[in-house]
């Protein structure tokens, strides 16, 4: 197995962009290439029967079969672990596969998991509709209500879960309080930090046990691949990795290469997403047709103080309400956008726009939408890497149309 570059193992912690470019990679690569090769092998050969026996008995670090790991994948796992400040990372074929991989590994029939209720609707759906079939109980408490979370804990509780910032309300969890509840009750904690990324927030530093990302978003950054990752302590992740090898939701070597390539510009991209997010949020807040803006970087945001204390920047996602607009008038704003394109997802170079009512909650009852906090006049904008001036001009014409 190749050795990580000596620089990156050194005493002083290199700068973030240095890590993004080099961490996890060996300095001298296969074929003396400057970049990691894409190894498409589904299986790996052994020199002899004895080599197989040695591999099994001595647990030698080498590849065996594609579902258990790939050399390029290990490079990116090491890179992501170092960016996040964790010991170990496990890559999956998508963010959902990562969530499922962790929950399936950590929970048994009779166990309970507690969620803050503002979350990606498919995570909620997996717990309420599917984990329940295996006898796992999901309890939801209001986002950032730490007392409610603590009160919901029973002797069967095994995992506390939240996103931060949450999607699409961008509520920011006080990770010290959240992690402390887990520590006090000896329950593992998981933060889905997809919207923050390790550039803006490093939950492990606050004592959270697992960090999860839809790497589809900012980590890959180009709207051209799906991936998920879980990061945490090696011993806690060992059974998770084993289960991945059985369930098989692995990523492909080609995708992993694109993810690695995307990570090289990670710091630059995040700086730009942060700048675009903030400038667009400030513009929206000043626009007469906007009733309310959800963006942690705005002083008006309910969680601005926690965000400022714990985050480097606030990302590219901005949610807002169009004043006195019904769902159709709101849709007209979405349809009038010319730079932003109508699509789900976020975190790529291209700015995307969507109306949560239509895109993700169309089939929910009005009561459920009220419960989830999804009003008809809500728009979610995922700022990309374009010039902020162009994004603002686009929104202005869409709102004034």
């Amino acid at each position: 197995m190749p050795k990580p570059s000596s620089l990156v193992q050194g005493q002083t912690r290199p700068g973030f962009s240095t890590l993004a470019v080099h961490a996890g990679e060996s300095r001298q690569k296969l074929g003396d290439s400057i970049t990691d090769p894409i190894i498409c092998a589904s299986t790996y050969t052994f020199e002899s029967t004895q080599a197989v026996i040695d591999f099994i008995e001595q647990k030698l670090p080498r590849e065996e079969y594609g579902r258990y790991g790939n050399p390029g994948e290990r490079v990116v796992e090491r890179k992501l672990a170092q960016l996040e400040g964790g010991e170990e990372a496990i890559l999956y074929s998508s963010g959902m596969a990562a969530i499922v991989g962790l929950l399936m590994s950590k929970l048994n029939a009779g166990d309970e998991v507690i969620f803050f209720d503002e979350c990606y609707h498919r995570s909620r759906e997996f717990c309420s509709k599917h984990l329940s079939r295996f006898g796992v109980v999901t309890r939801q408490v209001p986002a950032c209500d730490y007392r409610a979370m603590e009160a919901a804990i029973t002797p069967n509780t095994r995992l506390l879960v939240s996103e931060s910032p949450t999607n699409p309300h961008l509520s920011v969890v006080d990770l010290e309080q959240f992690a402390a509840i887990g520590k006090d009750h000896e329950i593992d904690t998981l933060i889905d930090a997809t919207l923050a990324t390790p550039y803006n927030l490093r939950p492990l530093d606050f004592g959270v046990d697992f960090v999860l990302h839809s790497a589809t978003k900012y980590l890959a950054g180009h709207n051209d691949l799906l991936a998920g990752v879980i990061i945490g302590a090696r011993d806690k992740l060992e059974p998770v990795r084993k289960l991945r090898g059985i369930l098989g939701a692995i990523n492909s070597p080609h995708n992993i290469y694109l993810l690695e390539r995307g990570l090289k510009t990670f710091e630059l991209r995040m700086q730009r997403h942060n700048e675009n997010g903030l400038r667009v949020a400030q513009f929206l807040e000043s626009h007469p047709r906007v009733e309310r803006v959800y963006y942690p970087g705005l002083a008006s945001h309910a969680y601005h103080d926690v965000a400022r204390r714990t985050m480097t920047g606030f990302g590219g996602l901005v949610t807002f309400l169009v004043r006195d607009a019904d769902w159709r008038q709101t849709a007209d704003v979405v349809d009038a956008a010319q730079v932003a394109r109508i699509a789900p997802s976020l975190g790529g170079a291209e700015t995307l726009i969507e109306q949560p009512l239509v895109m993700s909650y169309y089939e929910c009852s009005p009561e459920d939408r009220r419960r989830f906090g999804i009003p008809d006049n809500m728009i979610r904008l995922a700022c990309g890497l374009e010039n902020a001036e162009d994004l603002i001009a686009d929104l202005r014409q869409a709102l004034d149309a």
């Binding site: 570059s5 000596s6 620089l7 290199p14 700068g15 973030f16 962009s17 240095t18 993004a20 470019v21 080099h22 300095r27 400057i34 970049t35 180009h222 709207n223 051209d224 694109l258 390539r261 090289k264 510009t265 710091e267 630059l268 991209r269 730009r272 730079v339 394109r341 699509a343 790529g348 170079a349 291209e350 995307l352 990309g384 890497l385 374009e386 010039n387 001036e389 162009d390």
Partner: protein, 380 residues
């Protein structure tokens, strides 16, 4: 739309059929036609490929041109441009051109009966003196390699216009983020897309960009007839790289400027060649011609001989010892032993390439890490 927005959106329209935000990679070598004798937009991938066409559209927009052609390498692009000429005609090229261009002009293009004269492109009078009635093409590069010499593109354009010859600019080192030669009066921009355009050390590619349709048609004819086209996967990777081009180049320039300033104050360094330093002979022109930075390539000369220099370039822990440039990883090399080793010692001396010269391609790593790395390596 501004530069970054165009880099992301022009040529990357939403795919009409699937809605994909990122256009599909069309790997097809051939395309089904509506009827015999009737041609669709694409017929055969050498003649045109949708993925390559997307990239070409983006490049044309970023260079301020109207049409672009993507090639299998920078050399394939340069070769195509030289094939505009015929036997008996003449090219004037700057003395600081890329070594591969020098080789092409003197060992391949000359076989077709095309004559080549090199002249110092920083000296307009010398350039003009080299022009003959047969001259059809003036070929320059700025910043030049490896001394980062700066050529005044607008002045060359004026000269070319007056003498009714084409001006082609190899814009590889500056990239369209910093300099757009077509806007300064050049007729052809050439790129090794291997460098900043791709930006991730994982593609070989080249490009020609023009503003004039008739010139495009002639170049397109040559490209299609000779076949040095860029493949669909590589076209996709270059397009993907362009989305972060401006972010990368601006950041890399910023770090290069700081490294140049750091090296300038180090007693182990004899001189630093970077257009962003006021002492650089091309600084004034560069300040006019390059916007947002002075490039991410810099050279410096050690107080030391060939062996000492060899040790220094081998002692870095972050900079990697390799030729090429323009990517996210920082690279270091000794021109006398590597990029310009094919020059004989007399030619190297004439070009100011001493044994103590070191060339850096500054990547995206943190400035502090790169500075610390050079600081320790200089003691080797």
């Amino acid at each position: 739309m501004k530069f970054r927005t165009r880099a992301i959106h022009v040529g990357n329209a939403r795919d009409a059929q699937s809605g994909a935000v990122v256009p599909p990679i069309h790997v097809a070598s051939t395309f089904v036609q509506p009827a015999a004798g009737q041609w669709g937009q694409f017929d055969y991938s050498r003649s045109g490929n949708p993925t390559r066409a997307n990239l070409e559209q983006t490049l044309a927009s970023l260079e301020g041109g109207t049409r672009a052609l993507a090639f299998a390498s920078g050399m394939a692009a340069t070769h195509c441009a030289t094939m505009l000429l015929e036997a008996g005609q003449h090219i004037v090229a700057g003395t600081d051109i890329y070594g591969g261009t020098y080789r092409l002009l003197h060992k391949i293009v000359n076989r077709a009966g095309i004559r080549v004269t090199l002249a110092n492109s920083q000296d307009l009078a010398a350039l003009e003196a080299a022009i003959t009635p047969e001259t059809r093409l003036l070929w320059i590069e700025s910043p030049g390699n490896p001394l980062m010499s700066i050529t005044d593109i607008a002045a060359c354009a004026e000269l070319a216009r007056r003498r009714r010859i084409l001006l082609a600019v190899d814009n590889t080192f500056a990239s369209p983020v910093l300099t757009r030669p077509l806007e300064l009066g050049a007729q052809i921009v050439m790129h090794s897309a291997t460098k900043y355009l791709g930006g991730h050390s994982d593609v070989l590619g080249g490009a020609l960009v023009v503003a004039d349709q008739e010139l495009y048609d002639r170049l397109y004819f040559i490209q299609n007839a000779t076949g040095g086209v860029l493949g669909p996967f590589d076209s996709f990777l270059v397009s993907r790289g362009l989305k972060t081009l401006e972010l990368r180049v601006v950041e890399q320039c910023r770090t290069a400027q700081r490294l140049a300033e750091f090296l300038q104050t180090d007693a182990r360094v004899r001189r630093v060649l970077y257009p962003g330093l006021p002492a650089h002979p091309g600084h004034e022109i560069a300040a006019r011609q390059m916007h947002g930075g002075f490039g991410a390539m810099l050279s410096f000369e050690l107080e030391g001989d060939f062996e000492k220099t060899r040790r220094v370039v081998g002692a870095t822990r972050l900079f990697q010892l390799a030729v090429s440039l323009g990517a996210v990883e920082s690279l270091i090399e000794q021109p006398a032993a590597m990029s310009h080793a094919s020059y004989d010692p007399a030619a190297r001396a004439a070009h100011g390439i001493s044994d103590g010269l070191i060339r850096l391609s500054v990547g995206l790593e943190d400035f502090d890490d790169l500075r610390d790395d050079l600081h320790q390596a200089l003691d080797a």
